[in-house]
Point group: C2
Chain length 203, copies 2
């Protein structure tokens, strides 16, 4: 069975960068944006819409604005469309897991790929660190600190809701991951090297 | 500055064993029971009483039954006696931190030794695993599952209260540790080897 690492993360915690570096160091495939593209292709829905559903919200948008083609007809409920996105996502993650060792960021992959016994990371940091990382990445340059903090909390709340909706679990429950990594005040490259050493030692 | 590892843990999570193995593997000193003995000696209080205070409760016992000598007089309030235990504990932990690299289990060491920038571990597991480990250690052989679960929750609640009382922090807040390690379904020896690899890679 291929080795799978799934990564849950707080917004601005460096989880995505950590995932990329882990994949590079361990020689695993890395999946993140590719998943959204693949879902859009398979479900024949607009990529932007899929991104909204997968990354942020559960039930929004008017069906009229959603479909690239008539596969998802305007008569379909948003609920049904979102379900079909989750179904496509499930299929795609399973194909990825079957192809090679891989690192998957977000997407309820820990739940969807449970039978592959993934090593489940959760990456987090304090608010100050997360805000500094968002600033460094150029997220919302115009926002003042209060607005940026509000945005971070909103993204995290949406992710938690999405996770709960599809898995019935609490994203912040430490039992839903194997290792919780606090990146506060640390370089992500250092953290990635250390976590790679831990993962190698466990294999 | 010496390298310090502090370990917070759930009851039955294997945190103590993990700490011992980490210390062995890394060549650090290991402090656990020694701390209670040293506090009892320094504060001239009965070792059993110190154990109760340090491990479980904040304000119990009658002062009459507490003192080995008259250093803590029957007139002292329990509050004052418990404070003096915490003061002795603080001094002892600082002496240990100054002596050599070390692993310290519990005792609010992460808070007391904050300026030494300890690597703060939190070790946890699901209830089933914790109960199985308690059974294997011979904790409460007579208890049925329900009683054992109740005991585990009571110990954890008492530890959390103690931690909050002296540190003002929440023991279950993941920001209060650097690495959260889920030992559910794993051998502690394997986890210890992996965490030692991570700590070596970070140094």
């Amino acid at each position: 069975m291929n080795k799978i690492i799934t990564i849950g993360r707080e917004f601005g915690s460096g989880g995505r960068q950590l995932g990329k570096l882990l994949a590079e160091t361990l020689g695993y495939a890395y999946y993140d944006e590719e998943i959204i593209e693949a879902i859009a292709k398979r479900s024949e829905l607009a990529e932007d819409y899929v991104r909204q559903v997968v990354e942020n919200r559960i039930m929004t948008y008017s069906p009229i604005t959603v479909a690239n083609t008539l596969t998802a007809s305007p008569g379909d409920s948003i609920y049904a469309i979102n379900r079909s996105i989750f179904t496509a996502q499930t299929e795609i993650l399973e194909e990825m897991a079957q192809k090679s060792d891989c690192v998957i960021v977000g997407r309820c992959a820990d739940y969807i790929l449970e039978e592959y016994k993934p090593f489940r990371l959760f990456v987090y940091a304090d608010m100050e660190t997360k805000m500094a990382r968002c600033r460094a990445k150029g997220e919302d340059d115009a926002a003042n600190d209060k607005e940026l903090e509000k945005k971070i909390r909103a993204v995290e709340k949406a992710r938690a809701q999405y996770y709960r909706f599809y898995t019935g679990r609490d994203l912040s429950d430490r039992l839903s991951y194997d290792l919780g990594v606090n990146t506060t005040g640390r370089e992500i490259a250092d953290v990635a090297a250390a976590v790679a050493a831990l993962i190698r030692a466990m294999q």
